[in-house]
Amino acid sequence: MSSSSLSTVRDAVAGGGGSTAAASRDSAGLSPAAYRLGVIAAVALLALAPLVVQSFTVTLLNYIGVYSLAALGLVLLTGIGGMVSFGQAAFVGVAAYATAWLTTRHAASPWLGLAFALVVTGLLALVLGALTLRLKGHFLSLGTLAWGLSISFLFGTVEGLGNFNGISQIPPVSLGPVLLAGTVPMFYLIWSVVALSLLLAANLLRSRMGRAMRVLRGGNILAESLGIDAFRIRLALFVIAALLAALSGWLEAHLSRYVSPTPYGAGPGIEYLMMAIIGGSGTLFGAVVGAAVIALLKNAVQDWFPVLFPGAPGQLQVVAFATLFILFLQRSRDGLVPALARFLPTVRRSVPPPAAPLARRAQPTRGEVLLSVDGVQRRFGGLVAVNGVSFDVRAGEIVALIGPNGAGKSTMFNLLTGALKVNRGRVIFAGEEISSLPQRAIARAGIARTFQHLKLRPHMTLLDNVLLGAHPRLEAGLVAGALTLRRDEEARARAEAMRLLERVGLGDRPFERAGNLPLGNQRVLEIARALAADPALLVLDEPAAGLRRQEKTALADLLRSLRAENLTVLLVEHDMEFVMGLCDRIVVMDFGSKIAEGRPEAIRNDARVQEAYLGGVV
């Protein structure tokens, strides 16, 4: 099927019933067409605003738009990527100063100033990000506070930038012969940029790279186990946030035609963070709402404060402002947009239509050694958790790794998947040594895993969670994602994810949030995600834990059918009935060493295994 006919199929199905029986669950809410109409109406309303409202309101709207851009960067960085930055104002400032310097000192066109601002800010973000994005949690935020302050002090101290007086007489932007000097022309420029940025960001978040960004908050181990280079995604997100800040700074410089150090210090850096948090740092539109709330609030405080408290010094406005912000954070940590979204109709989503399958890897021939563990040892300080364990797994087998609690099974798993490094010995997968490879390289080599303590993205849909697994098989990059250039690939991936959901028995509600599923379903969802990577070896950590009897039977059936397709499975499990009935071979560990290996019947009758599980014969 060609890509054009695919999109026709998709359009035909969009809004319709879809292929699965239970699609009616998602049929409540607006149709995509009605939603699109709503968005167009809102944009039209905004476009008409300058004709209706007073010029002061247009000025206010202009600043809301400028702030929205910087806040949008923070929403992506903080809300999506989980990195809290106090340094956004510094990036805005760098861009504003860059364009101000170029257009006043060298009389360059503001458009050249834009390019210069974007390049300078982007490069700075690249360097700062490469240096600091390995920091974790609050260390990262403190780092942003540190370099943010450093940069903002530079604005006031570097000679060529006008010190504390700043740079004035910045030329206005002109579009061909039209000079965008007044408030109204700038209104259209600013809000076009905002609308375009929102659109591109929304596209990006729905794409392959966007999904990878949304994984970051789940921790590095999850991202890397999916073959995602978490650091690179962080860096990309950081640079994107800085570029949005740069757009904001460029617009601000040519809007107010003047730059000075004050708007880019620590205070404004926190204000942008406030905007992102108040709007709802997980939602893109939250950036606009947050910017509007802060701008209006500031305005209101400025207007009303002297009336309510005549004679009070202006600095008290900051107190009022900070107090309101603290109250807000105490009452509503998720922000306004998520709180309001509950009252809005949801957009109906249609089940992905069938599409050509994604390319598959060549599976090894049945019976040849796929995984070879050779004398592997791992110490934690004085404790030897895994001590010289060796075993092989052959292609097309289901092998179980069992043992009493503390036997070292989970450590063994982490060594195989690269989450831990071996101290001694080798792990060979498909003929190549993988013991020194990073986790994501092992994942890309064809080992997909599930987790004993589930690592799903609770706020993403089942479909998106499964799509995460397909990350290494897809190619769409950042630009392709933002411009939706790879619709064909995406459609095929979605169809594949849908097939996998149906295969594991979750096909009736692809748009449910993963966090709403019961534990048993979450376990099979993880298996579907692992399968989406098209692995050669599936590594399952206690897949039957917490499953009911029928669910266990269904899981065993699923694993048998996968074996029939030549997939190899290695699993750790405590449920002996499940293991004995399913596995071809069993490896038994106790106190870090292998004590037995063989077919289920042989293991059941092995004296050492009985002793390990039941204690010595008295």
Binding site: G82, V84, F86, L131, T132, R134, L135, K136, G137, H138, F139, S141, L142, G143, L145, A146, W147, L149, S150, F153, L154, G156, T157, R217, G218, G219, N220, I221, A266, G267, I270, L273, M274, I277, A312, P313, Q315, L316, Q317, V318, V319, F321, A322, T323, F325, I326, L329, Q330, R333, P458, H459
Partner: protein, 347 residues
């Protein structure tokens, strides 16, 4: 730069470093017990300095009114929360601690402000005046969100700093102050002249660090605080109340902040908004210590003092830039050196 200047800068750096040590240790104490990165810590120090200056000028310090106002809000919140949970019997106790005690403090300071007291009394008054602030603010601002992430608590702390700086302007005015020197004595070590003030700062920093060490290792309260810092749930299981431990941490922290404010006010001009940078410099020191380790923190704070001193010699306008830029490699090193639990940012 010859050796004389280098020595001079070193003495200067150790002096400011010693002040940062007191502040940084207080920050670490509050962070470990309550998980709050208490950014407004420098503001508390500044409040103490400004209060001392007001007392010298025989003005009623704004701190007195501020403490009374904050106490009223805290009492209102505590009593409402007690009544709502049906604990009416605990109300008199709450009134005593949240209202009567702070009011007694601010009343005393207010009543004493017109008189020309000897310097030690003035200093004691200034320190006592700011002590109730941080524990009360903890009740109002942080306790309703005690279970929030470190990051959210930090964002709130930053907002609180802006509120406090604004209030500082209202209470004390925009003028910078410099209080009377604590001592006119001067000491010489070989060729190096060290002012008595400098010696006093260093001695005070060293002795209060030692006191804190003894407190943690040899008193039951100190051990309870330590236990809360290590594991809140575990502490609760052995009948330590984290809220109470938090209050004690804020009190001790405020004491350290107030002392450092009083020590630094005679050597540096203090403005209502000096707290931010003061706090941040101390904070850099605390981060060098990993926010958990007291000797490391003290060493880090000294290092920041020295760095700032030498940086301002080379280029005074780039002092802040240099100190904050130096934080980035430190953070990198800390981030690599500390092993984090993996799931720290799960929603």
């Amino acid at each position: 730069m010859d050796l004389d200047i280098a020595t001079l800068l070193m003495v200067d750096g150790i002096t400011t470093g010693a002040v940062y040590v007191l502040l940084a240790i207080g920050m670490v104490l509050i962070f470990t017990v309550t998980r709050v990165i208490f950014v407004p810590f420098g503001d508390i120090a500044v409040y103490a300095a400004l209060t001392l200056s007001a007392l010298e000028a025989k003005h009623a310090p704004g701190t007195a009114a501020l403490v009374a106002a904050v106490a009223a809000v805290a009492t209102l919140m505590e009593v409402t929360s007690l009544l709502r949970h049906g604990k009416a019997r605990a109300v008199p106790r709450a009134l005593a601690f949240y209202l009567a005690l702070p009011l007694a403090v601010s009343g005393t300071v207010w009543a004493a402000s017109g008189t020309d007291w000897p310097m030690p009394v003035r200093i004691a008054l200034a320190i006592v005046a700011v002590l109730p602030l941080a524990p009360l603010l903890d009740r109002i601002v942080f306790r309703p969100v005690a279970d929030a992430s470190v990051l959210l608590l930090m964002i709130i702390a930053v907002a609180l700093h802006f509120a406090l700086a604004g209030i500082g302007l209202l209470c004390f005015g925009a003028e910078g102050v410099r209080t009377q020197p604590l001592t006119e004595a001067a000491l010489t070590f070989g060729d190096v002249l060290v002012s008595g003030q400098t010696a006093l700062i260093v001695v005070a920093a060293a002795s209060f660090s030692l006191l804190l060490f003894l407190f943690f290792n040899h008193t039951l309260t100190g051990k309870a605080l330590h236990a809360t810092a290590v594991n809140r749930l575990g502490a609760r299981l052995v009948a330590i109340r984290p809220e109470r431990a938090g209050t004690i941490a804020y009190l001790i922290g405020s004491l350290l902040a107030a002392i450092s404010g009083v020590l630094i006010a005679p050597v540096t001009t203090i403005f209502y908004d000096s707290g931010f940078l003061l706090g941040l410099f101390a904070f850099v020191g605390a981060i060098i210590g990993g926010l958990t380790n007291y000797p490391g923190t003290a060493l880090g704070a000294l290092l920041v003092g020295l760095l700032g001193s030498y940086a301002s010699f080379f280029s005074s306008s780039f002092k802040e830039v240099i100190v904050f830029a130096a934080l980035v490699p430190v953070l990198l090193w800390r981030s690599i050196a500390t092993t984090h639990s993996e799931e720290e940012i799960e929603e």
